[in-house]
Amino acid sequence: MNEVGQKAFPKISLYAFLTVSALLSIFPFYWMFVVASNTTSAINKFPPSILPGPNFIANSLAVFEEIEFFRALFNSILISTVVTLSVLFFCSLAGFAFSKLTFKFRDGLFIFLIATMMIPPQLSLIPNYMIVSQLGWVDTLQAVIVPAAVNAFGVFWMRQYISGAVPYELIEAARMDGCSNFRIYWNIVLPAVKPGLATLGIFTFMGTWNDFLWPLVVLKDSSVHTIQIALRTLNDVYSTDYSLILAGTFLATLPILVVFLLFNKQFIAGLTEGAVK
């Protein structure tokens, strides 16, 4: 927009502002590694060391001794993967029904579904815990997986996406050829909405991976801990021994950071997809 009007912000200050913002965004990641690779006493002095040290492997080994790191990592991957697949399937199926099938109360039910998104999760925390313990699911992974298997936001998202991406004629044609509704969904709708699925999938995976409150309530035994809960245990055990705590944190952050850096285009594009319309 520099071709029109006078400039309120000179170029140089603009670059300076963005560079400082970017550095502030990245610095804690760097700092995490600095602490994780030093001893706590090297950090706890004035001035603290600000360069990576030689102790990262030693710190990591100490972490592995204290918490079942790989077990927790495996649990997190398993939970996030199953939840993501389930959300993609059930939400797109419902989204398809809400956008392309005609049935009584359809629009009313859809508005109801949107309204359910306003309910804060704290409100159902206690009864949900009781249900899960009645079912004998405390300390099992399904306690986290099942309640998250389908959600209102996903249905809403997929409905909006399918409405725009799949033309009616296509569905009519398939129906003329004798396709059942499920086959229409599976063979025609799903392939047509892959980008929408990708976006929803990424965000569901991240959300599940980072979830803290509910797993904290229902996953008490260390054998079923997710990585977030394991980190919390580490924090409780070492309290101020930040080298070990941040070594664990760094190891736990690395996988998700790699996933993000690989898929960052889809991530950011997906986030803004709806806004541009």
């Binding site: 520099n2 009007g5 309120a8 912000f9 502002f17 963005l18 913002s21 970017a22 965004s25 804690p28 990641f29 700092w31 706890n44 002095k45 059930f90 419902a94 029904a97 099938l101 005609t102 359809r106 629009d107 579904l113 309910i119 999760p121 704290q122 159902s124 925390l125 206690i126 009864p127 949900n128 009781m130 249900i131 309640p147 389908v150 209102a152 936001f153 409405s163 499920f182 969904y185 965000f203 959300g207 980072n210 803290f212 409150l213 309530v217 919390r232 924090n235 930040y242 705590i245 941040l246 944190t249 952050t253 998700i256 991530f267 950011i268 986030l271 709806g274 806004a275 541009v276 319309k277």
Partner: protein, 336 residues
């Protein structure tokens, strides 16, 4: 849980256009009336409608079943619990509104948590949204080089887990040692006791929230900025409006729906603040204790399920009130 959510475009107009899809049945009927195949075609139409109905209900049923179990039932049951004295063994005693009366008259700690939550929410949200708006505005400049790199860096904090953020910042905000106090000492400022004072704890927790969400909001604002037609700015320039005037009279009003969206999201997130204060520590004067953390402790460390349920409902009402106030204020911004 604060779910990271993509911003959907949503208007009820969608519903209306889709209603017209009923129109295709009408077309079918027209075809059906045509001469020979009348009987078979109308029969086919009938069975299609029926199978659509059956599949429709079947396909949406997973959500409604799950929501019934983990959404509707808990909602009602929380209300039921809140009228009881209820401990972990399930021994219950009906006590009417006593839990609620207790909250309002006899539990200063709860109101302290309300104050803490609002204080942290305000000092994290306002600078956060302003910073995000500025970043988005700059990122939208045409001449800017390295746009995608800036975008990537600024968004990165958002993919980090709350737990990781809380732990890293807890280390940085160390009271005795700690990077931030060191940096302050370089500038000749005396170290702040981050865990010992209201100011320190609130700022520390707000910083965690801000760091994690500025980039997310900036990206959303950026998308909004890109959708504003360039002609508007060109016309304003011809009329002699300066850049700051353009920012205030064109950009902000055009972004209003998106600003509302981000304000609502940060309200919901702010009211649910939990992991950060839990891991940072609530402090000796409970200055870091937030509403949700208090609810959690009532329920799962002191096991008074009834009282915790009453707290949950009061929280819900507070959230509704705050959202309404928010909406009113944001509406004002547009009309002024």
């Amino acid at each position: 849980m604060i779910l990271v959510q993509p911003l959907p475009s949503f208007s009820l107009a969608h519903l209306k256009t889709n209603k017209q899809s009923g129109g295709r049945n009408v077309e079918l009927k027209k075809e059906g009336v045509e001469v020979s195949g009348k009987f078979t075609k109308s029969k086919k139409k009938y069975s299609t409608a029926q199978s659509e109905r059956r599949s429709g209900y079947l396909f949406i049923s997973p959500f409604f079943i799950l929501f019934g179990i983990f959404g509707v039932f808990p909602l009602i049951f929380t209300a039921y619990l809140s009228f009881h004295k209820w401990d972990i063994l399930g021994t219950k005693e009906f006590i009417g509104f006593k839990n609620y009366v207790n909250i309002f008259t006899n539990d200063p700690l709860f109101w302290k948590t309300v104050g803490n939550t609002f204080s942290i929410w305000i000092i994290s949200t306002i600078p956060q949204l302003i910073a995000a708006l500025l970043i988005a505005y700059f990122l939208n400049e045409k001449f800017l080089k390295g746009k995608s790199l800036f975008r990537l860096a600024i968004f990165m904090p958002n993919v980090t887990s709350v737990v990781a953020v809380a732990l890293v910042f807890s280390a940085m905000f160390g009271s005795q040692y700690g990077l931030i106090n060191y940096v302050l000492s370089v500038f000749g400022i005396e170290g702040i006791n981050w865990r010992g004072s209201y100011f320190g704890t609130h700022v520390a927790i707000a910083t965690m929230v801000m760091w994690r969400w500025v980039g997310y909001n900036a990206i959303i604002y950026l998308a909004g900025l890109q959708s504003i037609p360039r002609e508007l700015y060109e016309a304003a320039t011809i009329d002699g409006a300066g850049k700051l005037q353009q920012l205030w009279y064109i950009t902000v009003p055009m972004l209003r729906p998106i600003i509302i969206f981000t304000v609502i999201q940060s309200t919901i997130g702010g009211m649910q603040l939990f992991a950060e204060p839990m891991l940072f520590g609530e402090g000796g004067q409970y200055q870091g204790l937030t509403m949700t953390l208090y609810l959690y402790q009532e329920a799962f460390t002191r096991f008074s399920f009834g009282y915790a349920s009453a707290i949950a409902w009061v929280l819900f009402l507070l959230i509704i009130i705050v959202s309404l106030i928010n909406l009113l204020i944001t509406k004002k911004i547009q009309t002024s």
